[in-house]
């Protein structure tokens, strides 16, 4: 399954024929440049007296090229830049994702999150595709993401592209509700040394070190190491199980073989202890065992990518990776190897048609070791396999104003056979600084091992000893989505950019419980009653909503941005099913309203004051009230090498809950504070 960068894809499809009209589509960043203040003019005057060498050493505020791409993307895309990450004060990837509209990021406890896009967020939320440099990090065990092992040096991230809405045509099964693509910097951009140290009340210690260099102009590399110790959040029962520590090392090399070939190798290795509490059913007293203790997690990956520019407007890319993850927990061990290979070919046909062709294969064998009779996956070993092809064409209908993109993915998986995921997108740019887009997409979430192979037994009541057992079903089919989207982007005023996206998604055959049965089981002893619920495509649902994302940069020293996301989610039983548990849980676990507001201020003497305020409405099914809270960062770039910052997080209350957990007690996310020192030294690039 090809996992190319979303922006790259749409850039490839969109940019070439569309750039012509960029005269009318200048980015807000560029517009900002056209209105320089008198201060700027003075600065400009000084610049012309600098020598060529001196010019090369001037640090500039780089105008990100992203807005230009965003203007012409026929999808609800939001780009989080490195500067956004630095100034957010976030210490983990999920916290960074809070910056994007339409994304629900709820911290369950110190090391667990519930993350969803446009609904259906949960600790084991499915239907969300997350990639790090083209490597898919969702687990085929439950088709979700183990967020507590997805780490990288935040300083090495170039940007994060968040796409709300289905993207199955290019990214394949599980890109149903959204795609999160984390892209790290090229090794060329990380030459030098960076070392950063943080310490605080909950993030007790974070240390990162990176060294990057080159052996000439064509071969660049970096190595890094990062690790942290994080304390527990607030537990009303004073049971602080969720402390957490992780260490990770990795490398990346980028080698310009020729002027048109780039070969990239990168890899990471990590190990961690995730504090966790699990409740396990037992057939003999005490019936339910609560185990607090660290889960040992570890893994590594290596990825190679070769990219060749064939000629103007056509290029080819081949990528392969191997990824290993292992999780040893008190209740279950999982060891998984994933092998993946993707091919991507982009070409321009006559008439300015942009064509994208892709093919991919993935094999993912796993090995499950059960620790208790009450939780198992059968069989213990299974190899998930996916073979996929896709084709997409963007053709201009009205030159320079209207484009149509059509395409489909054809994918074969070992559970449901062939799946087809087509889409059609329209992009219309009627006037200067205005873009309309619309899309119709079909996407599927293919079954995971959980849907097929789970056997989970929980204690209900006694006497007589009665247990609830949930079992996977070989009849579980893909969950399907049919999505309609509409978007509008405009420059409302000279420096006020607004992005609006509206969507309506219809889901068929969502995960739920089928008709239950009851029976008496004699072994293991003592005899007990089992109420068995099979997993089934029991529910249908729909989501409707919109996101408004303004970005206002009134001057060089101030930027205000934010978003309002509205979501209405309804899930109901399919004919023939009654599953109040899952319908209630689905209907009450996604916030109707989310508001995010961020202000970035450049103070004199290189001080920075940044604040983020966010509001999330109640989640009745999670027993979580509406909350608003704020993060504030005060930074000082004392010299080009030294940066100091003080960050307060979740400041508006001593603690607040964001999501329920698998066990009864809701954990409160505490107010916290940390200080950070960063030292960088760039290597001379042309001695």
């Amino acid at each position: 399954m090809p996992n190319p960068s979303p922006s790259r894809i749409w850039r490839a499809i969109v940019a070439t024929p569309v750039v012509a009209l960029a005269l009318s589509l200048a980015s807000p960043v560029e517009t900002a440049c056209a209105n320089a203040s008198p201060d700027d003019q003075a600065a400009t005057g000084n610049l012309k007296h600098l020598s060529l060498e001196e010019l090369g050493d001037v640090e500039v505020t780089t105008a990100s090229k992203e807005p230009e791409q965003v203007w012409r993307t026929p999808a609800a895309i939001y780009v989080i830049t490195q500067e956004d990450i630095r100034r957010s004060g976030a210490t983990s990837l999920p916290e960074v994702l809070r910056l994007a509209p339409g994304v629900e990021v709820a911290r369950i406890d110190s090391d667990h999150w519930a993350i969803g896009i446009r609904g259906f967020g949960g600790e084991f939320s499915k239907s969300l595709l997350v990639m790090i440099d083209g490597r898919s990090v969702y687990s085929p065990l439950f088709a979700g993401v183990y967020w507590n092992v997805q780490d990288t040096m935040l300083e090495d991230i170039e940007r994060i592209e968040v796409i709300r809405g289905p993207g199955g045509t290019i990214w394949g099964a599980n890109a149903v509700n959204g795609i999160i693509n984390i892209i790290t910097k090229s090794a060329k951009d990380t030459r030098g040394v960076l070392s950063s140290w943080s310490s605080g009340s909950i993030d007790q210690g974070i240390g990162s070190f990176r060294f990057g260099g080159s052996t000439g102009k064509d071969f660049n590399y970096r190595v890094y190491g990062t690790g942290f110790i994080r304390g527990a959040e607030f537990h009303p029962d004073a049971d602080h199980f969720d402390d957490w520590r992780t260490g990770q090392v990795g490398f990346r090399t980028d080698w310009n073989l020729t002027s048109r070939d780039i070969l990239t190798w990168q890899g990471d290795m990590y190990t961690g202890l995730d504090g966790e509490r699990v409740a396990v059913g037992l057939y003999s007293p005490p019936s339910t065992l609560v185990i607090d203790g660290p889960h040992e997690v570890g893994g590594g990956n290596i990825l190679g990518r070769w990219k060749r520019q064939i000629n103007d407007g056509s290029d080819v890319q081949i990528q392969g990776y191997y990824d290993r993850t292992s999780r040893y927990s008190p209740q279950l061990d999982e060891v998984r190897d994933t092998f993946d290979i993707d091919l991507l070919y982009h070409l321009t046909l006559k008439g300015n048609q942009d064509v994208l062709l892709g093919a991919g294969a993935r094999w993912s064998p796993d090995n499950i070791t059960a620790k208790f009779q009450t939780l198992d996956f059968l069989p213990h070993q299974e190899t998930d396999s996916i073979y996929s092809w896709f084709a997409q064409d963007q053709l201009p209908i009205v030159p320079r104003h209207l484009w149509l993109t059509v395409g489909s993915k054809f994918e074969h998986n070992n559970y449901t056979g062939f799946e087809i995921q087509p889409n059609a997108r329209l992009l219309w740019t009627p006037a200067t600084h205005q873009t309309f887009w619309a899309a119709l997409t079909r996407a599927v979430r293919t079954p995971s091992r959980l849907d097929r192979d789970l056997e989970l037994t929980d204690f209900l009541v006694t006497p007589p000893p009665t247990y609830l057992r949930v079992v996977g079903s070989k009849d579980f089919k893909s969950e399907q989505l049919l999505g309609a989207e509409f978007g509008y982007r405009t420059l409302l005023a000279k420096k006020l950019f607004v992005d609006i996206a509206v969507f309506h998604n219809r889901y068929t055959g969502l995960y739920g419980y089928g008709a239950g049965s009851g029976f008496v089981e004699l072994t293991p002893t003592p005899p007990h009653i089992i109420l068995q619920l099979p997993l089934a495509n029991a529910l249908d649902g729909s989501t409707t909503g919109f996101e408004i994302t303004p970005d206002w940069k009134p001057s060089q020293w101030l930027e205000l941005k934010g978003s309002y996301s509205y979501l209405s989610l309804t899930v109901q039983d399919r004919p023939g099913f009654t599953d109040a548990l899952n319908t209630d849980s689905d209907n009450g676990s996604s916030p109707h309203h989310q508001v995010m507001f961020q202000s970035l201020v450049n103070l004199p003497k290189r001080f920075e004051l940044d604040a983020t305020v966010r509001y999330v409405s109640a989640l009745p099914a999670q027993n979580v009230n509406a909350y608003e809270t704020a993060d504030v960062r005060f930074g000082w770039r004392a010299t080009p090498s030294w940066e100091f910052s003080l960050v307060g997080q979740n400041l508006l209350q001593p603690e607040h809950a964001e999501f329920g957990s698998d066990i009864d007690t809701i954990v409160g996310i505490k107010r916290s504070i940390y200080g950070k020192v960063t030292w960088t030294r760039q290597l001379e690039t042309h001695p």
């Binding site: 440049c33 320089a36 003019q41 500039v60 105008a63």
Partner: protein
């Protein structure tokens, strides 16, 4: 891993909405009334404009230059102008090669006759090939920040490395246009390439 039935009691929440929003409002007001930064970095295009001026100094044009290029030393911007006022303010009142410097914004490559330095805006990426054909060998120094510009036959391409602006040179293209790039320019360039032989 499956939804469980949660206890029905809700925990009292410590947050006081009014207070929260007041704090939020205070942050906004603080942000809006803070003093502007006095040491703000120059913008990317201010530095690029300064580079353009330097290119004018460190490139030698052929003696037999068309008359329309010789009345003044003209910098042109083709397509959307990303420089804002920076280019004009850097070049204002300057002389290069003994000629007064002027700046023009042009919409079509065919209008590049008077230009000695032609900056091709990234808005023109889709017809870059056509542009380079039109201005080819007419004594114009082509400069752009379009990705792959120097590889695609442009002469000087700006690249942003980290937060510094550098440039790459395609020497073959410059030589084809009979332009002589000074050794200072070549020394400072992040990369100097010659057109790869066909098939590479």
């Amino acid at each position: 891993m499956i939804p469980v039935i949660y206890p029905s009691g809700t925990r009292p929440r410590a947050n006081d909405r009014t207070r929260s929003f007041m704090l939020a409002a205070a942050l906004v007001i603080l942000a809006a009334t803070s003093l502007p930064a006095q040491e703000s970095k120059p913008g990317e295009y201010q530095v690029k404009a300064a580079y353009l001026f330097n290119f004018g100094k460190f490139v030698k044009w052929p003696a037999a230059i068309p008359a329309e290029k010789d009345t003044s030393f003209t910098f042109c911007v083709l397509g959307h102008d990303p420089f804002g006022p920076a280019l004009d303010s850097i070049l204002a009142g300057e002389d290069l090669a003994g000629k007064p410097v002027t700046v023009r914004r042009i919409a079509r490559p065919q209008d590049s006759g008077p230009c000695r330095v032609l900056f091709i805006s990234s808005t023109e990426e889709s017809h870059l090939k056509e542009i380079l054909t039109v201005v080819d060998e007419s004594g114009v120094l082509t400069v752009s920040d379009i990705p792959g510009f120097s590889r695609r036959g442009g002469m000087i391409q700006f690249v942003v490395e980290g937060n510094k602006v550098r440039f790459e040179i395609n020497l073959t293209s410059a030589e084809n246009a009979k332009l002589i790039l000074s050794s200072e320019l070549l020394k400072v360039a992040a990369a100097v390439r010659r057109n790869a032989p066909p098939g590479d």
